[in-house]
Symmetry: C2
Subunit: 439 residues, 2 copies
């Protein structure tokens, strides 16, 4: 923690919520400021230690504070002591096994902790750290409960993140048709014209068109990345993302230097859904990742819209499924998108969570025992997805290294490697593991 | 009523419901048979006297029986006496004014009654008369209450009407796109393959394609006409309707010789919705008449499906409106259409009537004080629609003649003519009325 002063201002408080009242700001005092700085630094560390959506980490950090939670980890406190601290703090404590498993997941990351590197990289690329309590912290994240991000890394002008309060997510397939791109463009421009921001995932296809069209209409746009904000992904959107960082906002819950993985894409989707007033899927195949964003929006009770298309077009099949199975609202114009977030007229359909089919249940129950969502053709347990993210086709990696990369305990990683080995998608060789190319 | 014997078998009982048990059939006896025949003939008369959907006529006929109700009219019984008879029969009586207005609507038609002509024409074209109590009477009509048809004129093989019990309505715009026609064809063929009949309105565009595709797949198909079954409409579908009369069924609640009018098209739509298990709108502009059929289906609590299309296509705008405002189910395949009528799976959307916007309220409140539905650009009171149906651009017609053609009392017709005259859509000349061409 001695390094705190060295990395300012990359991690330094932008504008804490408390500072809004001048009197209060004075009352915080020097000790308070030091504590806030420590808390801030610990949040930065945690954002690299726990994988996105880790509910046990979220619980620990929100109950004990990030700094004390980190101290538990650094001091190698046993699970029982940590549970004692949680109970003393008056919180519900997760069970012993959950905390034990969490410690096993986090320790390998702590050893290799690159928080300082991440902070330096953030400083270099002009990224700021935003944490709960900051005025810029998106209010919508509260709906995520213990799954809310531990920190947010942001590139954009000061306070630009505040625009998320009137942003609507426009998402969709990478493999978009001309029709889908045209509609994404129309909706995004229409929202910008009406003073709404446009949030999306910066992917090719619908996402990119939504961002571009908002920029072209001088609207606010917000790009949520699955990796660090210092490395733009996809690389073909380098220029687009650089432009968004300039006049809009690029955000990630992962520290600089983090690679995007399939798991992180799925978890990134929950941020898009939670930060926005509503989510609209413009075009999506039946397995499109944007359906995962839609499922998050529905589970959060946020308005969900879907744009219909020809029934003969596979690119619209996912949208039609949302209309059929998720009670998504059929939207065809920007005006109708805005109606999603307006006061419902009497007798008008009120979007709410009802009868969600089990298949599309969103991934909010923490990183263990989850399923990875409808992406990628087949449904795998969350840990398998994360282990597959962590193995390489070329390099052999030890189970320990896989565990650290995946943010899993060594035991969990070994179990997953074994199961995936039986499936034939990974193989062991000379004591290391590697991915087996499909087909 | 002496003419009854002369017109057999055009009007003769096909197969009364009671005849199904052989013992019962014997018990009916000769007097019973004569009474049934009289009832049957009276129904045929009523089908030409009251305009479709006349709830007062429906109430009178269902409470007193068609023959006694007709006798009231022939004997010029005052409204008070008729109400007395209704009360004696144990039914709820409509108020004095409603019965009085009904008598004024029906009397001009009684004077010009062409029941015998209609029966002769029916005989000539091979049409049968089906009345409530007959085995062939569509069970779905019960949902219409007093608005159910007084009789049904049918061309098709004996008992073919029974196929309606497993028929689904496929309807849509006349101005269909290639996309819409393609989808109508696919859905209709898919339903035929799965053993479902296809009901529609024989119009150009979607309707015609639905019938044709069912025929091509050797499926059962049911064409509901707005005029008599002896005069096929539209004339361009002469050959198609002749083919349907041969292997499917052509039906109308109006006696042979009746012309189709705008009012009758709207009322015909209620029969399509009521007779079918579910209604699917394939393609519809925002003012398409098929939205009226959809509104009837929704009001009857029948499953309602809508096929989405490109949001850039005006031909799909009505379908998208059904999805948004009517909670219509998005259907994209025949399989999904069948699911509309299958047992709903747990958590699946259950079509039901909720929060229908006032704009699209269907026309089931009887012929007085109604609105004509979303067809034709502007919304007019029902009586205005019917008076416009009854005036000609060329011939001058007296208010009495207009009243008889419209199935209205002379007073109502005069009031409507006056109002329409103020609007400038009709004009009076030499004591007669005629329509003023638009523009």
């Amino acid at each position: 923690m001695e390094a705190v002063a060295a990395v300012s201002p990359g991690w330094a408080p932008g504008e804490p919520e408390q500072a809004e009242g001048a009197g209060e700001a004075g009352a915080v005092g020097e000790a308070g400021a030091a504590e806030a700085a420590a808390e801030r630094f610990a949040r930065a560390c945690w954002s690299g230690i726990a994988e996105p959506g880790d509910a046990v980490a979220g619980h620990l950090v929100s109950t004990l504070g990030a700094a004390d939670a980190l101290r538990c980890l650094v001091d190698r406190l046993p699970a029982a002591s940590i549970i004692g601290l949680l109970q003393d703090a008056g919180g519900d404590a997760p069970n012993d096994a959950a905390v034990e498993a969490g410690l096993e997941r986090w320790r390998p990351r702590l050893a290799a902790s690159s928080a300082l590197t991440a902070l330096r990289q953030a400083h270099r690329c002009g990224a700021r750290l935003v944490v709960p309590g900051d005025r810029e912290w998106p209010a919508g994240f509260a709906g995520l409960g213990p799954h809310q991000p531990l920190a947010l890394w942001v590139r954009g002008r000061p306070n630009a993140v505040l625009g998320l309060r009137s942003a609507i997510a426009i998402v969709g397939a990478r493999a978009a048709s001309g029709y889908g791109e045209h509609v994404a463009m129309e909706l995004s421009a229409g929202l910008a014209d009406r003073g709404f921001g446009v949030a999306s995932g910066a992917a090719y296809g619908i996402d990119g068109m939504a961002h571009r069209s908002a920029l072209a209409s001088s609207g606010q746009t917000f790009a949520f990345l699955a990796g660090g904000v210092d490395r733009f992904y996809p690389t073909g959107h380098d220029a687009l993302l650089a432009r968004i960082a300039e006049v809009g906002v690029v955000l990630s819950e992962l520290p600089c230097g983090s690679a995007p993985t399939k798991w992180r894409f799925l978890q990134r989707n929950r941020l898009i859904a939670a930060a926005s007033l509503a989510t609209v899927v413009v075009e999506a195949g039946v397995r499109s990742g944007s359906l995962n964003t839609a499922a998050h929006a529905a589970a959060l009770g946020r308005p969900l819209g879907a744009v219909p298309g020809p029934v003969t077009s596979p690119s619209s099949a996912g949208c039609h499924r949302l209309l059929r199975e998720f009670d998504a609202v059929c939207v065809t114009t920007a005006e109708e998108v805005v109606q999603l977030v307006a006061e419902p007229a009497p007798g008008q359909f009120q979007p709410e969570l009802r009868g969600l089919p089990a298949l599309e249940a969103p991934q909010r129950a923490g990183p263990r025992g989850d399923v990875a969502g409808p992406v990628g053709g087949r449904r795998r347990p969350a840990e398998h997805v994360r282990v597959l993210d962590a193995v390489s086709r070329r390099a052999l990696r030890s189970a320990e290294e896989v565990a650290q990369r995946a943010g899993l305990s060594v035991g969990s990683a070994q179990a997953a490697l074994g199961a995936l080995g039986l499936e034939g998608v990974v193989e062991e060789k000379d004591g290391g593991w590697r991915a087996v190319p499909a087909g």
